[in-house]
Symmetry: C2
Subunit: 348 residues, 2 copies
């Protein structure tokens, strides 16, 4: 029997929380083979899928920075894959690559343009290509250095600080000489932020005294707020903003599953404190990715950047459940799905 | 009998709408005279007081860009005054000056540093010094040129477009070559915006079809939103923001009297559309005021800037009621209180 491939498609748009079995449809079909390749294509088997809060936004039928995933379309996301066959001279069978697009499939055909080689510095892990040296790290890098621009001694607050992007952003702020306060959702994460990443303060927002502790942790107010969470935490940061504060608007994970969003009632602080609140997407910095990757790799090799990953096992079938878990604080660091262990040999 | 002076002091902090007789206390006392002057002071009689939405914020006991007016303190604001006596060589009796600080008094003593000469180009009105050539015009100028930065052909939306700052900001955007949509609160104002100021579209937000008309007026979305209003209009603008839109956060008059503020639920657009939302205060640009005044005066003399003023009569006693009227859309253009007609002679 020929190889089968599991593929996950969007079945219906979620209202509120993702209900994996309703929102996604899993189907097994015969896998494409080398014989199916047209010119300039690659046949890939997926090893790891990146799980990112932004993917929740792609499921909504609203105007955004990318078109929404269509009903019936294979779910979109970042992936690390192995080349099984290629009709482009750029890739050969066995190459490890990164690909984007409709990646939620075990074996798929991708255009050569959607694929790039994995290139890692000595000592890096394969998954770093999607974590600190991939979109996650690049997001943190440009958000903190270009929009946040913390000066030495300034107070930087990072929400979602134990998440993939937040943990890198917080460490970059430390490297830049800032005093860094991280907000996260449990005490184990807070300990990691303090003890391993060296943050000055780490707060658990579920602590009943969080509001008081947040004020105490920002006695000189907030110069840079790197926001991955939105909602109440954004509102509290507005209230504690210093004049000329920069608000790096990276994400708002607390809102993505909400059907009724509550806006920040302290929005007036943007005027009175002359806040610059600015959103960004890493695509905006595409021409500078090389330079940023080099810097991140150097920090990683120097031990200045720590990273963690939370790997969902159970293959591609577990990806929808994994995506849901992003929103309940399951992960420390980067959340990935292991679709296939890279140490298992390739098979056609 | 010696001259009396009416003085208005903050009696209690307003909760919600200003109730003039509760919030302010009016008292008549013997006026200070030249004999009361110490070194480097001026004795002034007030001619005009500026009424600005920002003054509502100064009544709240909250952290802001200036300390709040204290209970019992003479109300603060911009003024045009006449020098009655002076102990500084910079000013002589009869000079027309602008002063700030605790100005809500008919006759008062001010330090020389709080006073500057009124200097107007040919053809300007005395009140222009507080309107298009004063803080109002400077606010519009720096907000639009420095933060908004509209490019030719871009869509600029101005809320509070028939107000003092909004009307100047909208015209500057026209001068810069933008397509300009103004939002105001009645049809007469909308007519003024279209017919006299030359805006491309003027919408009355009280129109039952406003939401639909707003979308129709921004078919290519919004590149610059100059916000004087906040609240629902800010939220609608977020929903219609183009990518890389600039939101000039000048004021939020719709919120100033609210005890419960509703934040913008479309705040997520800041991320997805990469909006730069930025507050500012004209103090931040103090070193460039001269250059800006020169430009505004030139536009005024060339007929490129139109301006209106709404003058509250009834003397200083009418100022609290006038301040209240700012929030009910009473004014077209700049709102002023005529404390004393400048054509009446000075009297000591």
């Amino acid at each position: 029997m020929s190889r089968q491939t599991l593929t996950i498609r969007l079945a219906e748009r979620p209202k509120g929380d993702i209900v994996p079995d309703k929102v996604f449809k899993q189907e097994k079909t015969p896998a494409p083979t080398a014989a199916d390749l047209k010119d300039n294509q690659v046949l890939l088997e997926t090893l790891y899928l990146s799980l990112d809060p932004a993917q929740r936004g792609w499921l909504n039928d609203t105007r955004s920075y990318v078109p929404p995933v269509q009903i019936g379309e294979v779910m979109r996301g970042g992936a690390i894959s192995r080349v099984l066959a290629s009709t482009t001279p750029k890739f050969s069978s066995g190459d490890l690559v990164q690909n984007s697009g409709n990646t939620w499939t075990e074996v798929g055909i991708f255009p050569g343009e959607a694929v790039r080689p994995v290139s890692l510095p000595v000592g890096a892990r394969l998954t770093d290509a999607m974590n600190v040296l991939g979109g996650t790290g690049l997001t943190a890098y440009f958000g903190m250095t270009e929009i946040g621009q913390p000066k030495s001694g300034e107070t930087v607050v990072v929400s979602g600080a134990a998440g993939a992007t937040g943990s890198v952003a917080a460490q970059i702020a430390k490297i830049m000489g800032a005093r860094v306060v991280g907000i996260c959702g449990d005490d184990e994460k807070a300990r990691w932020l303090r003890e391993d990443l060296g943050l000055d303060v780490a707060l658990n927002y579920k602590d009943p005294d969080f509001r008081k502790k947040f004020a105490e942790a920002t006695p000189d107010y907030i110069d840079v707020f790197y926001d991955n969470v939105g909602g109440e935490q954004l509102d509290m940061a507005l209230k504690r903003a210093n004049k000329f504060a920069r608000f790096v608007m990276c994400g708002q994970i607390s809102n993505y599953n909400k059907t009724e969003i509550v806006g920040p009632k302290n929005i007036g602080a943007v005027v009175t404190m002359r806040i610059r609140m600015q959103g960004f997407i890493i695509f905006d910095y595409a021409e500078r990715w090389g330079e940023a990757r080099k810097q991140l790799a150097q920090w990683l090799s120097e031990g200045k950047l720590q990273r963690k990953e939370t790997i969902i096992k159970g293959g591609l079938a577990a990806a929808p459940e994994g995506l849901l878990k992003l929103f309940s604080g399951h992960n420390i660091g980067k959340m990935l799905v292991e679709v296939k262990n890279p140490d298992d040999g390739a098979k056609l």
